[in-house]
Symmetry: C2
Subunit: 423 residues, 2 copies
């Protein structure tokens, strides 16, 4: 369903005037949605002075190549309750990628919907340092690229190689420390905006307290990783975790587990992806996005002796093929995403559509004013997947729900055919 | 491992003389192995007067497109205890096929190993009627083929169409009733032998009491279908079933269930094949063997609303696409067997190898004498799968064990790398 048709059928209570509304964009995964995210939303509102906050969110699978702990619809509900006005879906071919393509998809999605600014969290917290660093980067692009290339040839992983390349042009020591994960992502957004001359102000706020990779719960603001670990260990939401999340996240997590019977993690998919690899030829495996440089042989030869997903990754992992990179590759195997399908995402100058997962009344008002100015279609659901990228999204969603009991799969996938969530 | 190398390393107690041993071949599935099979073995010995009984047996998947209730190794053990001297594996591309290719693979496997006769069970029980019918068939081949073709074009299923074609040339009324399932299969064997001028005597015995498709246990000789149904309902071997099977079958069934945790049936594979179809494109599905005439659309469109394997088949089934045919197609989807891989089986004049699953001392003696006269390699296990057909067998085996717990899969698949079972 096209969203403009959807708008013709709904009755918005909001008055539609002519004055321009300003929107600020966030780029998020919400897995799970914790107090740090709420702080981010509030700060984005404050610093951008926007009328409307628009989040672009990963769908079934996240940037690190993991299945989201609960599905996109339950995360959308939590996000709308916490102050987001519109939740957009970052298409699968951009979501499960390293920072370059992840940024490309996110920033262009927000650009197509007309945000005036994008606000991201960073260790630095000072946007002028990002823009100054972009200048340094731009002047030393050649050195950067050469260093990156030679580091990759030496067998370093992509994050490691880019860190070295940034270091080479002075971007880990001076203005900007591009060895820190949120600075790296933020710099990618800034680069995408400035490389493409997009009419978007980059804004940043300081990330507080918990680090990206922290594994322990450390108080009211905890990292997504630490919350996720605790949830999977306990299999219930304990009191200390409750304090780290807004009430609506807690109830969406509980609701999902109650209805779907599980929270999702890679181990639940092990039997599916293992079965698939065991019944694929080396050639078929090499056609999957990310399976390069003979990795198909390593994946197949280790498959005979592994008994869990972690065990498998541990056996394949090298300096060059990091855990995250391998998880992404396994997501592409699980969803059967060939290299050829990913070419669209790589080669297009923008995104082919903008999909709305949910919105508040403010969001509806914004969209009603904005929709006529848009260059790409607004998509309300997957009921007519004519765009190849929507078909990939549909496959990813079906793979995501594949671990649920037979009757649940159908019910949960049907959410993809419904209109966006209205709050 | 090549079997001739295997023979160099084992010490057979049997004296190897020069006198020729006569072997009689049986074509079987042993799913499960019941008293009717033992009767067949004894009768085959009696009518053929052979020194050695050789069975060619389906491996992981059976002719009707079903997974075998217990694996090939446990069925081999039961067969060796019941009077079979050598158990050979019918390669997957012949096993999961309609009667023509099933016969081709079975008869040629037995021919390569040098049997003098093949003894099959039939409703008719009179071999002269089969050979006379072959004459009739041969003289009316053109009419038969034309009728078959036109019936298929009218949308009839293959079994239904061949029944009509046999009827047209008088082979359901006179000498031979080719509307009965065991007569049909037997006639296929006879046709393969005579079409190829193979030096093999066809022999037949009358099938006793229980029909092929009977669903109820009817005494000491019950059909495989009725036993299987009762096993899956009860999940234990009840007293009335015990009487229908040799003691060794009972213990192999119990042993397998104890060690592997389950008996296999299609419903156990539903989540795997469902997941696979949901993440395949129409084009990919159309490349699977058996998915013809736009069937990919029917399989994909029904996939969204099914909650069990039976439910799915029921929704796809037509007059032309029978339950059995669809089960075979689903086996090919599950094992990821493309049309291109099946070409070898269709186009070759014989089988590419003979794989031994197990043998008694008599069997060893026979093979030691026979091996030098053979035109194709004897294969002992899947440790070096250089032949494309062996790779298909390996994939089928991995798909078969995919429903077992992670640690069991590995253990059970390792049987494929061991030397044949010696009894």
């Amino acid at each position: 369903m096209r969203l403009d048709k959807f708008f013709d059928t709904i009755n918005t209570n909001s008055h539609i005037g002519d004055e321009r509304m300003e929107a600020c964009g966030l780029i998020v995964e919400y897995n799970p949605f914790h107090n740090g995210h709420v702080y981010h939303i509030q700060e984005a509102k404050r610093v951008s002075k926007a009328d409307c906050i628009i989040a672009v969110m990963s769908g079934s699978f996240l940037q690190r190549g993991e299945p989201a702990i609960i599905d996109k619809f339950h995360r959308t509900n939590a996000a709308l309750s916490a102050g987001i006005d519109i939740v957009l879906e970052l298409p699968y071919p951009y979501a499960v990628q390293s920072s370059d393509l992840f940024s490309k998809g996110s920033v262009h999605t927000l650009n197509e919907i007309g945000v005036s600014s994008i606000c991201f969290g960073s260790e630095s917290g000072d946007i002028s340092r990002f823009t100054k660093s972009y200048k340094v980067y731009n002047e030393n692009k050649f050195t950067f690229k050469e260093t990156l290339k030679s580091c990759l040839n030496q067998g370093l992983s992509f994050p490691e190689a880019s860190r070295k390349a940034y270091e080479k042009i002075g971007l880990t020591t001076s203005e900007m420390d591009l060895s820190q994960p949120n600075n790296i992502l933020g710099f990618s957004y800034v680069k995408t905006i400035l490389d493409n001359n997009l009419p978007i102000d980059p804004l940043t706020i300081t990330r507080t307290k918990s680090g990206y990779h922290d594994k322990e719960i450390t108080g009211a603001i905890a990292s997504a990783t630490s919350i996720r670990n605790k949830l999977f260990t306990d299999q219930v939401i304990s009191a200390d975790i409750k304090d780290t999340m807004p009430a609506e996240t807690v109830s969406q997590l509980q609701l999902y587990k109650h209805d779907a019977t599980t929270w999702h993690n890679w181990e639940h998919y092990f039997h599916l992806v293992h079965y698939r690899v065991l019944t694929m030829s080396h050639h078929e495996l090499s056609e999957i996005h990310g399976v390069d440089e003979g990795l198909e042989y390593r994946i197949k030869s280790t498959a005979n002796d592994v008994t869990s997903f972690d065990d498998w990754i541990e056996k394949i992992k090298t300096k060059r093929y990091t855990w995250t990179r391998l998880q992404r590759i396994f997501a592409h195997i699980l969803t059967n995403t060939p290299k050829t399908d990913m070419e669209v995402a790589k080669n297009s100058s923008s995104v082919p559509y903008v999909r709305i997962l949910g919105m508040t009344e403010t969001g509806q008002t914004y969209l009603n004013r904005q929709k006529k100015n848009m260059d790409v279609p607004l998509v309300a659901n997957l009921s007519r997947t004519t765009d190849p990228m929507l078909s990939m999204e549909e496959k990813a969603s079906k793979a995501y729900y594949s671990i649920l009991p037979a009757k649940k799969k159908r019910v949960f996938h049907k959410q993809e055919l419904q209109p966006p969530i209205l709050k």
